[in-house]
Symmetry: C2
Subunit: 246 residues, 2 copies
């Protein structure tokens, strides 16, 4: 590509070092430095982005903090981690299945659970009466020890009262549903947006401030078309992508 200065914005509320860190993180995820396994030297990056070498160093320090690179004096800045998981979205979307063999170790953690009355919006989606009891689960999913999504999930309480315990034991929604007598379920709609990470994202997903999260709102029904689950999941945008196959 062009070797000249490219694409950093000044004086716009996003520090240069953060813009550069984001760009390098993306380049790593895209495999642009796969041949060497190293990020280009600091002075080369400084020239490429048209900034001072110290500014590049700030960016690399941030990436080192995230565990993505490791700088070694005399050798260079080595790439430690490089991952973008692919999530297929289909009628049979399942988290664990979707990850497939992209990760060896899969984990589902229950952060919090509660029973509460359904809001108007939620009731409309689950086709229950507003104020009817629902179970809310806050979960965190990991692949190879790295957090890949944070979800808030609601179930009609009258039908899936034991969901909290079932999920805690299995760490899987699919398994929990089966335990509660629902053998199969279908994804009927998924809404996808993107936003900046909020405080909870930063903590749970181990992100750095300014990071982007992909937000997916999903509705699942049983095979008769009765809604069984509504979920809002947040994914680190630099680690995942969604694929829709028709």
């Amino acid at each position: 590509m062009d070797t000249g200065q490219m694409n950093v914005q000044r004086q716009n509320g996003v520090a240069l070092w953060r813009q550069i860190a984001d760009r390098i993180r993306t380049s790593i995820a895209n495999g642009e430095y796969d041949e060497t396994g190293k990020v280009p030297p600091e002075f080369a990056l400084a020239e490429q982005f048209g900034v001072n070498r110290h500014t590049v160093r700030s960016a690399l320090a941030a990436l080192a903090q995230e565990g993505i690179v490791r700088s070694v004096q005399g050798r260079g800045t080595l790439i430690e981690r490089k991952d973008r998981l692919n999530f297929p979205i289909s009628q049979r979307t399942r988290f664990n299945q979707g990850i497939g063999d992209q990760a060896r170790e899969k984990e589902g953690l229950l952060l919090h659970s509660a029973e509460e009355p359904a809001t108007a919006d939620l009731a409309a989606r689950l086709k229950i009466k507003p104020g009817a009891p629902v179970i809310r689960l806050e979960t965190l999913r990991k692949a190879d020890r790295r957090p890949v999504s944070r979800s808030t999930t609601w179930f009609p309480a009258d039908r899936f009262g034991g969901m909290t315990e079932a999920y805690r034991q299995s760490g899987s929604i699919t398994v929990a549903f089966r335990t509660l007598g629902l053998a199969d379920y279908l994804r009927v709609s998924t809404e996808i947006t993107a936003t900046h990470a909020d405080n909870a994202d930063l903590a749970d997903l181990e992100l750095s401030p300014g990071a982007i999260v992909l937000v997916a709102k999903a509705l699942n029904t049983d095979t008769d078309g009765v809604p069984v689950q509504y979920a809002v999941s947040r994914f680190p945008a630099d680690m995942v992508q969604f694929t829709i196959e028709n």
Copy 2:
């Protein structure tokens, strides 16, 4: 909700005023201020975010620059624009159709076109030989005068040689395909990611720095399953959402 201080990060490369501007923009898009049509007073926002009033003013100035709000001395800060377009993604995904009646005025602009040899990646997706000629179109789509997407689209040149002219005249891929003898086509896969807006995004989509773009990579085939089009489209994340219906 809670009235106390909430959720702004200090010293992390994203200026407070920008974080606050992003939060307010999202709140507006979510309809949180619909009752009054106004953003809360500056001092109230300052207290809510735990910052100085001047910092809030910087955030509001940025939103005014984007045309989202307008401050009137003595009255308050009025909401000028509030929109989030929904894009359904299905086997028959069509831009103009998808927008439907969400916008009155739809427009497709041709920014640039060229004929060039296919890269290895592109050739694999379009199932043609690497280096075979393809037509590349850079297009900008608008709804009600606001830019909503910026796309780079490739077509096999041997089959769709007249694409540039056909698109220029109609402003629609669907119509251009029909002109060239392709009555129907199908969306077979869509990949969705998110990233920060780059310089071209800022210019073409009229965004402010630090904004987020949703990136969709789509492959279309004819009814025989032969690839006819590969496109990479970028959407302002605070203006659009994707919906997948199964």
